[in-house]
């Protein structure tokens, strides 16, 4: 019997990329995981060699060569293919996907186009004063959580990096920080806050506008301290602005409650502008609470390779960028793609039904370690070794810090990178012959 203990393992579930996991392996099977949340544990315990998705073409078992050849046939015969996903795989696989997209004159997009993509666009417009999670842990004495519920979506964030963490200049941890939660309902996260401001849905833009005005000491015509702004008295917003100005090191952690609500990218532009303006009084930063573990890496790699972070289109032979036109959801709704590579994501679980229905009507190649809701109807299904468990590679944490993921156990299948490379070689052969 071979038993090994792996320390400082990086969890590949959410954008927190907790890097202190301990994984116990016995005979190439993961037996125990410590220092992990329930979601991370389930992911690691479930993504093992005996749970792999089937290798199939049109519902029939096949060889890897058959699957690669069919994938290459579908993609070379398509006039407008899309490569979509990449948020739960390595930066190396992302880079290979961009090369395949360029070779095919395809569109390429990742889930950020409908999650934190509005925040990415806002950063292009107004920039972002930001910091690392290490700085939040060691310095932040005011944390504002806006439209995010990390206790449910990033369960170890508070303990590892933010609200509860003890840091160099915050040795008392939670007692050394003020925490404000802004949300449309009480949550597990808001229960950890000193102040909870329950706002009306869709009022974020208006609220941030008022906060910026208060920060600049502008007179708000027609408003008194009792006037409600987003369902909360103006006096409370005034108190928040004073707290922000009085803090030594403030951070806004924002979630998809802001990016997916009315205003979308404009909400984020506004809040990043507020953060920038607060730097006239103190040190203030913003960090997006990125969801999928390497969705940030997808944006990073697309920017290196094409100049654009999401919704990139090579149909004319060169990269074009236009969110809303080349975003995966809009392209599917408008029926503008005729074949799809789905990799390291599950659009059938994430996208509205009309897009999924169209996806079901076109040839689809699925590359994913385990079965998901696309597996039953994808034309080609290729299982892969999961990143951070069966293959190594680079992921980008929500604060843009790259971390190297380890290989822990062997899998009887290739990595995402190897699959994309093999398909690319075959597409290249077809195009050159």
């Amino acid at each position: 019997m071979t038993v090994s203990l792996h320390q400082d393992v990086v969890c590949a579930f959410c954008g927190s990329l907790c890097d202190d996991l301990e994984v116990e392996v016995e005979n190439n099977e993961i037996k125990k995981v410590k220092n992990v949340c329930a979601i991370g544990r389930n992911k690691i315990m479930h993504q093992q060699p005996h749970n792999m998705a089937p290798l199939r073409v049109n519902g029939k078992e096949c060889s890897l060569d058959d699957a690669y050849n069919e994938a290459a046939r579908i993609l070379t015969e398509a006039k407008a293919p899309i490569i979509y996903g990449l948020s739960s795989t390595t930066a190396e696989a992302n880079s290979e996907a961009v090369e395949l997209a360029e070779l095919l004159n395809a569109a390429i997009d990742n889930p950020s186009s409908y999650c934190h993509g509005p925040g990415v666009l806002a950063r292009q417009h107004v920039g972002m004063s930001t910091c690392t999670l290490g700085e939040v842990k060691n310095r932040a004495d005011l944390i504002v959580i806006w439209g995010a519920n990390p206790m449910e979506s990033h369960p170890r964030h508070f303990n590892q990096y933010s609200v509860m963490a003890k840091g160099m200049y915050v040795p008392d941890g939670r007692k050394g920080r003020k925490v404000v939660a802004i949300d449309v309902r009480p949550t597990m996260s808001s229960k950890n806050a000193d102040i909870f401001l329950q706002i009306t849905p869709g009022s974020d833009f208006e609220i941030i506008n008022v906060l910026r005005s208060l920060a600049k000491n502008l007179k708000l015509e027609g408003l008194t301290d009792e006037s409600l702004v987003g369902g909360v008295p103006l006096a409370n917003w005034r108190e928040l602005v004073e707290m922000m100005k009085a803090s030594h090191y403030g951070v806004v952690l924002f979630g998809i409650g802001l990016t997916q609500s009315r205003g979308k990218d404009l909400n984020i532009e506004h809040i990043l502008s507020l953060v920038d303006e607060l730097n006239r009084y103190t040190r203030f930063y913003a960090i997006p609470m990125r969801g999928h573990a390497n969705v940030n890496g997808s944006n990073q790699v697309l920017v290196w390779r094409t100049g654009f972070p999401l919704a990139v289109n090579f149909y004319r032979g060169y990269p074009r960028f236009n969110p809303g036109e080349f975003s995966v959801f809009d392209m599917l709704i408008r029926k503008e793609v005729d074949a799809a590579v789905i990799i390291a994501t599950d659009p059938a679980a994430h996208l509205p039904q009309a897009a999924v229905k169209y996806l079901q009507s076109i040839p689809t190649i699925l590359i994913d370690p385990i079965e998901n809701l696309v597996t039953p109807w994808a034309n080609v299904v290729i299982p892969v070794a999961p990143a951070g468990i069966g293959t190594e590679g680079t992921y980008y944490r929500m604060d843009n810090v790259p971390l190297r993921l380890k290989k822990i156990i062997d899998f009887p299948c290739p990595s995402d990178y190897e699959v994309l490379h093999a398909i690319k070689e075959r597409v290249s052969h077809v195009k050159n012959s």
Partner: protein, 112 residues
């Protein structure tokens, strides 16, 4: 049958995340993604049957959900992200690339 109108907001939950990673065909995942969280007063006014089932209807579709009473604002309903919630979201993004996952006008009607 009692019915109320309001706004649907799709959300992440810890249970949804944990169940999803065990498998999206698991009973645990399906149960979580079909659990609609509503305000206690709204919950009472619906007069739900013993199984707490209700029809959630939007402009796009109608789905069957199981209601759960949790502290929160009146007239706002919360459903975990997933294939069920995706049925009631329409195809409009207003040119942003982002569907309207939050703030969808819906009605909730008790199933007796």
């Amino acid at each position: 049958m009692n019915s109320i109108e309001g706004l649907l907001i799709t959300v992440r939950t810890g249970r949804q995340g944990a169940a999803m990673e065990k498998g999206k065909f698991s009973a645990e995942y399906i149960k979580e993604i079909s659990t609609l969280v509503i305000n206690p007063e709204d919950f009472s006014s619906l007069g739900l049957g013993s199984e707490k089932k209700a029809i959630l209807k939007s402009h796009s579709a109608e789905i069957t959900v199981t209601c759960q009473s949790v502290e929160g604002p009146k007239g706002i309903f919360f459903l975990p992200l997933g294939p069920l919630a995706n049925m009631v979201i329409d195809g409009e993004t207003n040119g942003t690339g982002v569907p309207n996952y939050k703030g969808i006008p819906v009605s909730v009607t008790a199933v007796k």
